[in-house]
């Protein structure tokens, strides 16, 4: 019914997160209806991004310059590195304005099932950054999952040799707005372990 160009467009759109075949058809139809206002600018933006965006060789972030804007920013605290699993985590922290230091993106977690080992992650480059000097604290901000924490402990072991570098991790426990009777046992247990004096 549709030409091969439209079919291919729908197939590619359906590969995007959050879009299935049905929503991809809707998106394709919308783009075709708004050809000048949306489709052409989007196509140009995608082409420019594909040409210009690269992975920062220092931290693993995505940016059009290398090192990335975060790594170049002189106002940021270069003595503190926050280690995250994915660029999405870095962006989440930047959205929240919760951290003003530098980042390091691991690119995933150690995973027995998926066969991801230390050599598949950006751990050696993190060790090299710390060895380079000038780092006082490394914050391990991996997810509170078995794989995330296994990775955090592994990274901590690799950095244990740097005695003058403080290693810390994010707290686990009650989320803001969370109600205790709706929390799972694991979160409650973590919250009790991490309780502090008031």
């Amino acid at each position: 019914m549709n030409g091969p160009e439209i079919v291919r467009m729908i197939q590619l759109l359906a590969k995007l997160p959050g879009l299935g075949p049905r929503s991809a058809r809707r998106a394709a139809l919308h783009l075709l209806k708004k050809r000048e206002a949306v489709l052409r600018p989007l196509a140009q933006a995608l082409e420019q991004a594909a040409d210009a965006i690269r992975t920062c060789t220092v931290c693993g972030n995505f940016d059009s310059v290398d090192p990335c804007t975060v790594c170049r920013d002189e106002r940021r605290d270069s003595t503190t590195i926050c280690v995250v699993e994915d660029v999405a985590d870095l962006w989440a922290m930047e959205r929240g304005h919760v951290f003003s230091g530098r980042y390091h993106v691991l690119g995933g977690t150690l995973s027995a099932l998926d066969g991801v080992g230390p050599e598949d992650l950006n751990i050696d480059s993190l060790v090299a950054r710390v060895r380079g000097g000038g780092v006082r604290e490394v914050i391990l901000a991996t997810n509170a999952t078995v794989d995330g924490q296994t990775t955090a402990h592994y990274v901590a072991d690799r950095l244990a040799a740097f005695a003058d570098v403080k290693l810390s991790r994010l707290a686990h426990g009650l989320p803001v707005g969370g109600e205790i009777d709706h929390l799972d046992d694991g979160t409650l247990s973590a919250a009790f372990k991490a309780r502090r004096a008031v």
Binding site: T145, H153, D184, G186
Partner: protein, 244 residues
């Protein structure tokens, strides 16, 4: 087809954006995989973590299907050990080893009990000895059990120091002395049914690792799980910082 049973989650793999394919170890249905709708969502992600004990309901149109799981948490073992590097490494190693070694849908109730014992012991004194016993039980269940109670050569039950790499049977000090370079060390805690020391646990892991690799993983052209090696490395680091 439908059944409900308690199980221990061995592994979870993302499928699409919000779903996961999980494998559980149950007493009655063995290692069993299933699809979980929304298993990677923020509401369910903490549930489907390796090591957690869950009450699951499996449903499939026919028995051969992958089927779907629904589950509720019984014990959050994963959350309990997240802050303990050694226990977390042990949990990950046990889950990865059982997941890789066990055939699907073949009941092994003794292994389920062994895994439950390990999860309960994690973090308590001497728990790595339970891990070694779990791997001995795994070998036993798969038909490659070791005989560590009496000497293969002389029949004596005392001073058992070695294990034959060929037969998996214990060898006494006197009988094994001429061949000691070719024999595997039998850690005393296995023969004497004690808790043992860190060095003995490492010897025990070397012993079970040898036979797991030879009988279980090598025939399938698979290496021992990297998570198991990381557990051994964590235990070695632990031995240098703590006497156990």
């Amino acid at each position: 087809m439908e059944w409900t049973e308690e199980g221990v989650l061995l592994g979870s793999r993302s499928h699409g954006e919000a779903a996961v394919i999980v494998t559980l170890l149950t007493a009655g249905h063995g290692r069993h995989a299933g699809f979980v709708h929304g298993g990677a969502s923020s509401g369910q992600r903490s549930l489907w973590q390796p090591g957690n004990r869950l009450r699951v309901a499996w449903r499939g149109r026919v028995a051969e299907q992958l089927g779907t799981f629904r589950g509720e948490l019984v014990t959050a073992h994963a959350a309990r050990v997240l802050d303990d590097p050694l226990a977390l490494a042990g949990l990950a190693a046990a889950c990865a080893t059982l997941d890789a070694a066990l055939p699907e849908r073949e009941p092994h109730p003794a292994l389920f009990e062994g895994m439950t014992a390990l999860l309960g012991a994690l973090g308590h004194e001497g728990w790595p000895s339970v891990y070694v016993h779990l791997e001995l039980g795994l070998l036993q269940e798969l038909g490659f059990g070791l005989d560590l109670q009496q000497c293969a050569a002389t029949g004596v039950r005392d001073e058992l120091l070695y294990v034959s790499p060929r037969t998996g049977r214990a060898v006494s000090r006197a009988a094994g002395e001429p061949y000691r370079d070719k024999l595997l060390a039998l850690p005393p805690f296995l023969a004497a049914r004690q808790v043992g020391t860190v060095q003995e646990w490492l010897q025990g892991l070397e012993l079970t690792g040898y036979f797991l690799e030879r009988h279980v993983f090598w025939p399938h052209n698979k290496p021992l799980p990297p998570a198991r090696q990381r557990f051994i490395e964590a235990l070695q680091r632990f031995s240098t910082t703590d006497s156990g």
